[in-house]
Assembly symmetry: C2
Homo-oligomer: 205 residues x 2
């Protein structure tokens, strides 16, 4: 996971600026401490503009999740030039947080808190289901392209994608909630799983 | 994951009864809706007894997590009679929630919400680190016993345990936060990972 994504530091329009302010407020206060007022404090334009667009903090946070997903999909789509095996590796690098910079910690913590809202709030559940579904479809497509190109074995791409996304959610949650989540160890073992399970050249460890 | 654990339905002492009341209140209201008052409503003895022991809801919930861990460790220790490969399978069955009964849903949702508190509350972070550490040590011990007994390959037990516990956290979080978490698919792929990675008899799929 990268440092602050560029679309949040150099937004292109008002919506982007509101999303950047939401990102900074989330990093600073977490879900438990966030309010529309605190997001407004991070926003450089008229506060009333922000209040005009969003009624409550959850509406704003759901819009933020939606925006993050759109941008993530664009980032992934932008590396279409490489082969499927390289695209697959790039996606895993982006999704697995084990080796990210410390600066990302607070954002990851906020995302884990946001996700936990889905345990009792239908709107968050829908949003995360949509988000995970899009990532899943993308991983399946890249895996199938790899099978087609002969660099991956003929695996059940749906099953492999579900397994990998479960690891991604687990690594992110552990990173935000444990003193030592051993993220680098997880990344190594994912690599060794992918080698054994997918890559045609294979090899032990 | 089993139905309501027996130690919560037939508690042996006052502490056990308070923990049973906490369990029922968590299932009914979730973390976001729980209060000491609501736990007291589930408690059959004197409310003042409960207020006497616990000052606030987080103190009570942290004691509850501690109690769950103790009981889980006793359950795992109780199946010592079988060989290491059987113990390993039993642990995975207990930890992976993919195939649990619908009755467990609300409790899993509450556990996911509790864990998310660790993203901003040091006391929860310590508790979950202790919890995950104990599970990790147990998984490593069973894996090493399996290697010793010749039924598992000579793997890095620490790395395998970290990987599997990441899957456990991911499966639990996905189950509580997605419309369809495909838990059964995860369980199948874990089985196939364990076959490839650990079992000496091996075999493809």
């Amino acid at each position: 996971m990268e440092e602050t994504p560029p679309f949040l530091t150099a937004p292109e329009d008002t919506r982007g600026e509101i999303m950047g302010a939401t990102y900074r407020a989330l990093c600073r206060h977490g879900y438990s401490g966030i309010t529309v007022q605190r997001i407004a404090e991070e926003f450089e334009k008229s506060k009333s503009l922000l209040y005009h667009h969003y009624d409550d903090k959850d509406e704003l946070l759901l819009a933020f999740l939606d925006y993050m997903l759109e941008e993530f999909e664009e980032t992934v789509a932008a590396c279409d030039a490489d082969g499927p095996a390289e695209q697959f590796d790039a996606m895993l690098d982006q999704l697995l947080v084990g080796s990210g910079p410390p600066a990302a910690e607070q954002f990851i913590a906020a995302m884990v808190e946001l996700r936990a809202q889905a345990a009792h709030d239908e709107r968050y559940r829908e949003q995360f289901s949509h988000h995970d579904g899009a990532l899943h479809d993308r991983l399946v497509a890249v895996t199938e392209a790899g099978i087609e190109a002969g660099c991956f074995r003929d695996v059940d791409a749906d099953r492999v994608a579900t397994f990998l996304l479960t690891l991604v959610v687990g690594a992110m949650t552990r990173r935000a909630t444990l003193e030592n989540s051993a993220g680098a160890t997880v990344r190594e073992e994912v690599e060794s799983y992918v080698d054994r399970r997918l890559r045609v050249e294979g090899g032990d460890e």
